[in-house]
């Protein structure tokens, strides 16, 4: 998934400079996605098949959430498994049965591959099939890889949703045109979008993932898909392979992004422009109202993005176009040129986009640039703060509802808070 094809250094079409960098990366692996995915699909359980490191990573990333008996766990591979003293498939079956006994509420179980399970080539898709047969019909078992050798942070969600695609019911060929919004969104955001689509007159709108395993949407040639998150390359490909068509759009971050995202749907479904304007006007007005006070704070601020979630491009576009911020460097772990084309087209000419990472070199550039705000992962935030740089931890942008009109102000506030805090503190 991280394999890069070599690209021209400059995207002539939009005047954005794209550079690739290789070296040490400071990003989470795809297992981290479990932390929000298990909240979204409420009867799903995520069983990582991995090492103690995997268990430690998830509990460190999940913080206090771990104490509430969350719906994820790790089957830790030990030396007996590796030495062949124990049959790993039998062990996995035993662990899974114990888990299902403890949690009879589970309807969907994901076996999540990790770096160790990938390296020893443990066949989790086959294990999932075997377990699905023996646990049917109460529990369906699927698998995907969240390993750090294949996935970066949010790509774990991509892999998870892609694993769901073959399981989705087939929509009839003559089914009415439907819209499928793809990517985990907070329930409150999903409900807001549902209301907007209903007001536009769209009757068949579904979301992937659904909130319950038994309620996953149908898919067919009359399904149009709309990505709500920028990191869903494999999921989109799998959905397209099942006949769905993707509606290209920027992502629904900020007032402008949300309008463009909704407009792409309106255009695809032939919604009357007057109706569209009428439906979006109240949200747009509220978003503008909420954003206005932050322009003074964020306008002209110089922002540096370390690569982390793949949300960097749409966030940079929002900060630059709606908040008037200046972009020094926009790092992203991976750049999907197709899905990102509408975003790239909106970035100001001359924006420096860096795909991939070489941590120490990037930290040198950041220190030299002395940005007003640095968006980075949790591990880097305090060291940069200690060097006098204001930071925003990017993981919060995934845990907080930030999409849509009524969250535009919250999104701006997340970036403004570190700056406001500095003006308050006198110590």
């Amino acid at each position: 998934m991280n394999a890069h094809v070599s690209l021209p250094a400059t995207d002539a079409a939009c005047g954005v400079t794209i550079r690739q960098e290789r070296g040490q990366r400071a990003v989470f692996c795809g297992l981290t996605g479990i932390v929000w995915l298990h909240r979204k699909i409420q009867d799903a359980f995520f069983l990582v098949v991995g090492s103690r490191t995997c268990a430690h990573l998830i509990q460190s990333a999940a913080g206090v959430m771990i104490f509430a008996e969350p719906r994820f766990a790790t089957a830790i591979i030990d030396e007996r498994d590796l030495a062949g003293l124990a049959d790993m498939n039998e062990e996995l079956d035993r662990v899974t049965r114990r888990l299902i006994e403890r949690r009879p509420d589970i309807r969907l179980l994901f076996l999540v591959g990790s770096c160790p399970s990938e390296v020893i080539k443990l066949d989790l898709p086959r294990a999932a099939q075997r377990l699905s047969r023996s646990l049917s019909p109460d529990v369906r078992v699927l698998s995907y890889s969240g390993s750090g050798i294949e996935t970066t942070f949010t790509q774990g969600e991509d892999a998870c949703l892609a694993a769901l695609v073959p399981e989705l019911p087939r929509a009839a060929a003559e089914a009415a045109p439907s819209l499928l919004v793809v990517g985990a969104l907070a329930d409150v955001v999903e409900d807001q979008f549902s209301r907007l689509f209903a007001q536009m007159g769209l009757e068949h709108v579904a979301f992937l993932p659904a909130r319950r395993a038994g309620a996953m949407p149908a898919i067919g040639p009359n399904t149009r898909i709309l990505l709500a998150q920028p990191f869903l390359a494999d999921t989109a490909r799998a959905l397209e392979a099942r006949g769905a068509t993707r509606i290209p759009a920027p992502f629904p971050l900020g007032a402008e992004g949300t309008t463009a995202w909704l407009r792409a749907v309106a255009d695809a479904f032939g919604v009357d422009p007057r109706l569209f304007a009428e439906v979006t006007a109240p949200g747009l007005r509220r978003a503008e109202q909420a954003l206005a006070p932050y322009r003074a704070l964020l306008g002209g601020r110089r922002v540096f993005f370390f690569p982390d979630s793949q949300l960097e491009l749409p966030l940079a576009r929002f900060l630059s176009r709606e908040m008037g911020a200046d972009l020094i460097e926009v790092g992203t772990p991976y750049l999907h040129r197709g899905h990102m084309a509408p975003e790239l087209a909106l970035l100001p000419a001359g924006t420096q986009v860096v795909e991939g990472q070489s941590l120490d070199a990037q930290m040198d550039r950041c220190r030299a640039a002395r940005p007003d705000l640095t968006v980075c992962g949790l591990g880097l935030a305090n060291p940069l703060e200690a060097e006098g740089l204001a930071t925003k931890w990017s993981i919060e942008l995934l845990f907080t509802p930030i999409q849509g009109y009524d969250q535009a102000g919250d999104l701006a506030e997340l970036f403004a808070r570190p700056l406001v805090r500095r003006t308050r503190l006198e110590v």
Binding site: G23, A26, F28, I66, C115, I149, N382
Partner: protein, 525 residues
């Protein structure tokens, strides 16, 4: 394969990072995929360190596996050396790189760097964090402390010791060290080297110049101290100075090895704990049932403090440090109980319930278990949480540490006098269960006194002839229920449970006032 919802310890390379991060001038090159870089946040977020740990990760990817991960590793070592110019390096693999068997030690050696490069073998599929810290520290000491030597002559100088054990991401290590250094200064003992905390590789080269070693955390420093004992003939002090008794013994042992008089340091009342514990307010602590779980160092020490310095009854003791299971079992036997040796927090939860504890002293996980069970709790051990790095000085060790322990272990319980008065005025208009705090109601509505103190009569009369089904609690008569209410609330739950047990054992279908007092007499022996 082990089903794990939560783990007390990270993998062993996290232990190595704790040692490397505590030191100066040392760099760790870890052959690991990108996900392993989460470990940075343990140090920068949880411990709030102001710099990244001195660690370079190779962050190899799937596409590198077919190609040359060894070259990636060598590159990372060369670049880390060029950029950070460390005095020494440690190199090793995390769980994934262990499987691809690139031999980090050999690869690094082949680069022929002009500094010591120490390879670490940390088997990720058998060992855990504290073992990793111990092994790393031992390897560093072995490689850098120099060859066998005779102890330096003692004439004409003050005695010298090394303080071994404190690491990054350790439970109160920062503050413990301050207390121990204070004790050493008071005794007139010079501190030769503190390690790993704040030590450089060159400092490890000076370890041999000390007369003896002080091991603060045996999980981490015992192996290194044993090596030093063999190599330099340095004896070690292994008494962990947590609590007044242990600190006193520690001071005496140090004084004996140093050839100084401990009396001035022990004179007077160096800790407030003994008097606080003897003062009458503390009598309510007597026999409080306490469950203790943590790493071995803290579990053992706190068990002794709880039993002998606070007068608690230790009803449960356990550790996740399997390497020290023997010591913990022996200590548990002294309290007449069986130790809980496990790294599964569900086992610990079950043990807490079975022990009918009234106070839990454990890790952050036991804090949450206790919250669920409605029990007071204090945290006495790693794994680390951001709350375990308080801004204030908060040691566990030494005499000030004993003061901190008194507060930490006692405050979760209600203060004795407060508890007594609340019980006394139980039925008073101002203090009954339904009353709002008096300062909130002064200008508002009058506090609502329950109109009828009489509990409602049971809706269904159980015929006296029909015994209740097995295990069903006997029915309380209204008068007995009313009598029960007169018992102070903090022992009421126990009185209820004991009475019901008494009734069950005698197959009584109804509990009368007589039963209540019969049970009290029976259990009160």
């Amino acid at each position: 394969m082990q089903l794990t919802l939560w783990t007390y310890e990270g993998p062993p390379h996290i232990g190595a990072m704790r040692v490397a991060t505590a030191m100066r001038g040392l760099h760790y090159v870890l052959h690991a995929p990108q996900g392993d870089t989460y470990a940075d946040l343990l140090f920068t977020m949880i411990e709030r360190r102001d710099a990244r740990p001195p660690v370079t990760y190779t962050t190899f990817q799937a596409r590198d596996l077919g190609a040359d991960t060894a070259a990636i590793f060598q590159n990372a070592v060369s670049e880390a050396y060029a950029r950070f110019r460390p005095e020494a390096m440690i190199v090793g693999a995390s769980c994934t790189a262990e499987l691809i068997q690139d031999d980090p030690g050999g690869l690094a050696r082949a680069l022929d760097l002009p500094i010591p490069v120490i390879p670490l073998e940390l088997p990720a599929y058998q060992k855990k964090e504290n073992w990793g810290a111990s092994e790393t520290f031992y390897r560093l000491v072995r490689a850098l402390a120099g060859p066998r030597a005779e102890p330096a002559p003692r004439e004409g100088r003050r005695p010298r010791c090394n303080i071994l054990g404190p690491t990054a991401l350790g439970f109160r290590h920062r503050d413990d060290l301050v207390e121990i250094e204070k004790l050493m200064a008071a005794l007139g003992v010079d501190v030769n080297v503190v390690a790993p905390w704040g030590a450089s590789p060159a400092d490890l080269g000076r370890l041999g110049a000390a007369d003896f070693n002080v091991v603060l955390y045996p999980e981490i420093a015992r192996a290194a101290a044993q090596h030093l004992q063999k190599t330099f003939g340095q004896p070690m002090v292994e008494t962990v100075p947590i609590g007044v008794g242990a600190t006193t013994r520690f001071v005496e042992e140090v004084a004996a090895l140093a050839g100084v008089d401990p009396a001035p340091v022990l004179a007077g009342a160096p800790s407030r704990l003994p008097w606080y514990s003897r003062s009458v307010d503390s009598t309510y602590l007597t026999g409080k049932r306490v469950f203790i779980f943590g790493d071995a160092t803290h579990a053992l020490a706190i068990a002794r403090v709880a039993a002998t310095e606070l007068g608690f009854k230790v009803v449960g003791l356990g550790t996740y440090t399997r390497e020290f299971a023997r010591e913990v079992r022996a200590e548990a036997a002294l309290h007449g109980i069986e130790a809980t040796i496990t790294d599964d927090y569900l086992d610990v939860e079950a043990a807490i319930q079975a022990a009918q504890a009234e106070l839990v002293l454990g890790t952050q996980m036991e804090r949450h278990v206790a919250k669920r069970l409605g029990l007071p709790c204090a945290v006495i051990s790693a794994p680390m949480h951001v709350q375990d790095f308080p801004a204030r000085h908060s040691p566990q060790m030494g005499f000030e540490g004993a003061n901190v322990l008194f507060d930490t272990l006692v405050h979760p319980l209600m203060m004795g006098l407060e508890e007594h008065l609340l019980g006394m005025f139980r039925e008073d208009a101002e203090f009954h269960d339904g009353a709002a705090p008096s300062h909130l109601t002064r200008h508002g509505t009058a506090p609502s006194v329950p109109a009828a103190a009489e509990p409602a009569a049971p809706a269904i009369e159980i015929p006296l002839t029909a015994p209740p089904p097995d295990d069903a609690p006997a029915a309380w008569e209204a008068s007995a229920e009313k009598e029960l209410k007169k018992i102070p609330f903090f022992v009421r739950g126990k009185a209820r449970a004991n009475t019901e047990r008494f009734a069950r054992e005698r197959a009584l279908s109804r509990i009368t006032v007589e039963t209540l007092y019969d049970a009290k007499a029976h259990f009160g022996r």
